[in-house]
Symmetry: C2
Subunit: 220 residues, 2 copies
């Protein structure tokens, strides 16, 4: 749970489906660690059973603008974002996060792992695609005690084929207060969003298309 639109909506969906929620966030060397404050607020708001924040030093691996001192790319508007995989891609991020969630699920005796991955209004990250998630699920069932004992681990990605606007509409229908969420890759210390990174631009477009006001305070 990053504290953004997608993970918060996913949490609301899982809760609506009557799952008992154990939420996991990662302190992974991201520059925007302020997002963890949003994640904590959201976890409290949704009364999750437990919110685990796992420390993992992805900055040691590097390779991403999110975990290094590379500049976060900014764009005039969403049409200016180039088609290739952007600098904000963190190599293996969802693979690592899902692996840790899987390990915790195994300890908890849980079989259902929810992730807010989205393959429509997304930044082109390979680890957000359906074929990746299906392969991860197969691997998870072969590499864990849970799977080997014949119980089926399932990776749920309820947002996978929704547009950002549809995600926001779904969340609003479930009563999500998006003023709790933070999407920006490069927020100020006070939690103001830059308004120009790919994540801000995708968020703005989503709210615009959903016909709803974005409660985010943008610098720009």
């Amino acid at each position: 749970m990053s504290g953004g639109v997608d993970s918060t909506t996913t949490l609301a969906i899982a809760k609506h489906q009557q799952f008992t929620i154990y939420a996991v966030s990662f302190h992974y060397g991201q520059r925007h660690h302020i997002e963890l404050d949003a994640a904590k607020r959201i976890a409290t708001h949704f009364s999750v059973k437990k919110h685990l924040i796992i420390d993992i030093d992805l900055a040691a691996i590097g390779g991403s603008a999110l975990t290094s001192n590379l500049e976060i790319p900014k764009y005039r508007d969403i049409e200016n974002i180039p088609g290739e995989i952007p600098l904000t891609y963190v190599p293996g991020r969802n693979i690592i996060f899902l692996s840790l969630a899987l390990a915790w699920a195994e300890v908890l005796g849980a079989f259902d792992i929810f992730i807010g991955a989205n393959a429509i209004d997304f930044s082109g990250y390979p680890d957000c695609r359906a074929e990746f998630l299906a392969a991860f699920e197969t691997m998870a069932n072969l590499g864990t005690k849970t799977g080997v004992e014949g119980k089926k681990i399932k990776i749920h990605a309820p947002l996978l084929m929704l547009t950002k606007a549809q995600i926001i509409q779904k969340g609003i229908a479930l009563g999500v207060d998006y003023s709790m969420t933070l999407s920006c890759y490069d927020p100020t210390e006070q939690g103001k969003a830059c308004g120009k990174c790919d994540s801000c631009l995708l968020r703005k477009k989503g709210f615009r298309e959903a016909g709803t006001i974005d409660p985010t305070v943008y610098l720009d």
Copy 2:
């Protein structure tokens, strides 16, 4: 690279196959962090290009005698080890470690990941089996930029179907000095091995069957 027999032998094999070596170890909340000293010695000895030690707090997840204050099980001899998956199983460990190795490989532009997994003289961990490793490789090629760009990531497990004795014989043929390695799950602060945990017992059996003297100093 844990600093034990298997990862050290795997390193020697990869080196013998002319690969440039980037070694990764994990400081994951294990009680036997003294193994990282062995890993560092071995990395230096083999002149690896870089040795990365990644911090990851698996103790927060719990569920294993290796990362909690559960007692490490001790046995009179190897025949007394029960058939089930033991308490030293760390849920998802190889999945997490391979995911992090994969992320680093992606940053380095490397395609070959070596792991000392073994499915013969092993403790029955599900994440050491051939079918798991094959599924991980498939997932890795679908979930990374490298894979999506059409380059093939390969998981190498050259020890997978060898007995511990065969592993040791192979290492000796390649000039490995096993006095550098540490296998024990519960060593003393001075690096003495307990001689009674599943890892010690597997090691002793391996050296006995290889017809070679085990250089380990055992408490017992």
